[in-house]
Symmetry: C2
Subunit: 257 residues, 2 copies
């Protein structure tokens, strides 16, 4: 897979420049400081299941990273999500998930199976997107790149970060171990990992097992009291500080280029 | 126990005013902004085993809170520590601890037993110290008060915070559950809790059991890869932000008085 990046829109508001793009079939968005920052670190944001690249969680992270640190932030729609078509397989899995929910049965096994399927497609898409982003002069090759994705963003992110050594720091969390333990064992870059202590879907031991699997010398678990959707907003601030520590500053990125 | 606070020294350097004090037999230190801040939140710092009220970990926390937030910070020597005499019981327990270490046996059971003994004495000492500190016009009654203590500072801090409702937020960590589970179940104020994922003394399940016991609706576990003494320095910065979130600002404290 090798396609260049085509910008399809370019708007500026409240300090943030937002450019929609495509890389082949993949729709994405690149957020940057409104006043051209030149070369700066890049963070890739993977969205959660059932939402899309510009959902509030992703757009909020982007604002924090762009306005707080002067970074570039890119997000793409996962297969079957956002502006991308759903296949029959997507529809069947989504139906199965809702059926389990209505029947009061655990959704976990279906989510794990479906996310594993999506991750297989999404990992090469992330690599191709990063290839294309690195052709932009304000990103370039060799600069620091982070990845930030919780839930389904972790299902894709763990195999992606394990397979792409351009990623130098990552924030993950809130996912079953299953197919992620093997790639997690190959990850050695610094990790911050979020988990909800009272998650009604993800058993505590399962969440801890995935955190345990990372080979990273620096890894930090942030486990908060609360249910699956109650991840505190201050964890987004913490993730921004984590990337500031590990990816450096726009000035440092420019000096190293 | 009711004694007033007597200042025994008063120095100013690098932005921090440091006043040694005694409350009865208890030697303590109060750190404040060098330029009199007026009424400001107070954080009590409990030191770890074998060290003392001005050891680098405590003095470093004080500098961060004083210079970063404009808070007051107080620390006292635990029984048998710092400027306080050791009893025969202290000597026996310390000997037993070193003997276990040299024999390659687990120190945990001795530390737990000794810390439980010290906490029984130290809890009323902390309450008496806080009584006396609150008589100072720059602290006053009714203002927000935090507690920050890891290791032995948690052994004393958990029963102290459970018994003294003046404490409105606390940072704990790195201790066995044992005698702390019962008081932890009575604590409902926000908690940040540090744990080392690869602690060679404290089994992981034991550390998690203590975190699990707190009744606090807001509690956050920070578990970092690394051994007992490798708690990353960025956790001190995180604790300072935690207190900033929960204790407010000097200006707010003054306005509320």
């Amino acid at each position: 897979m090798s396609s260049s990046l085509l910008f399809t829109s370019d708007t500026r508001a409240d300090g943030v420049r937002e450019r929609d793009f495509t890389v082949g079939e993949i729709p994405g968005v690149l957020w940057s400081p409104e006043s051209d920052p030149g070369l700066a670190p890049l963070v890739l944001v993977g969205h959660g299941g059932g939402i899309h690249k510009k959902a509030p969680a992703s757009a909020g992270r982007a604002r924090r990273l762009v306005l707080g640190l002067g970074f570039h932030v890119a997000a793409i729609d996962a297969p079957g999500h956002g502006d991308r078509p759903r296949t029959d397989h997507d529809e069947r899995e989504i139906d199965a998930m809702f059926a389990a929910r209505e029947a009061g049965q655990p959704e976990g096994p279906i989510i794990v199976r479906y996310n594993a399927h999506l991750a297989e497609q999404a990992v090469p898409e992330w690599s191709a997107t990063l290839d294309a982003l690195q052709e932009l002069p304000e990103i370039g090759t060799g600069g620091p790149v982070g990845y930030w994705g919780i839930n389904m963003g972790t299902a894709t992110g763990v195999p992606f970060v394990a397979s792409d050594d351009r990623i130098t720091a990552a924030v993950f969390g809130q996912h079953w171990p299953d197919f992620l333990v093997e790639p997690a064992r190959r990850i050695t870059v610094p990790i911050e990992f979020d988990l909800q202590w009272d998650d009604e879907h993800l058993p505590r031991a399962a969440g801890l097992e995935l955190f345990d699997a990372f080979a990273s010398k620096e890894k930090t678990l942030h486990a908060n009291a609360g249910r699956h959707k109650q991840l505190p907003r201050f964890e987004a601030d913490s993730a921004v500080r984590f990337f500031a520590r590990h990816l450096g500053t726009p000035a440092a990125a420019a000096a190293a280029a």
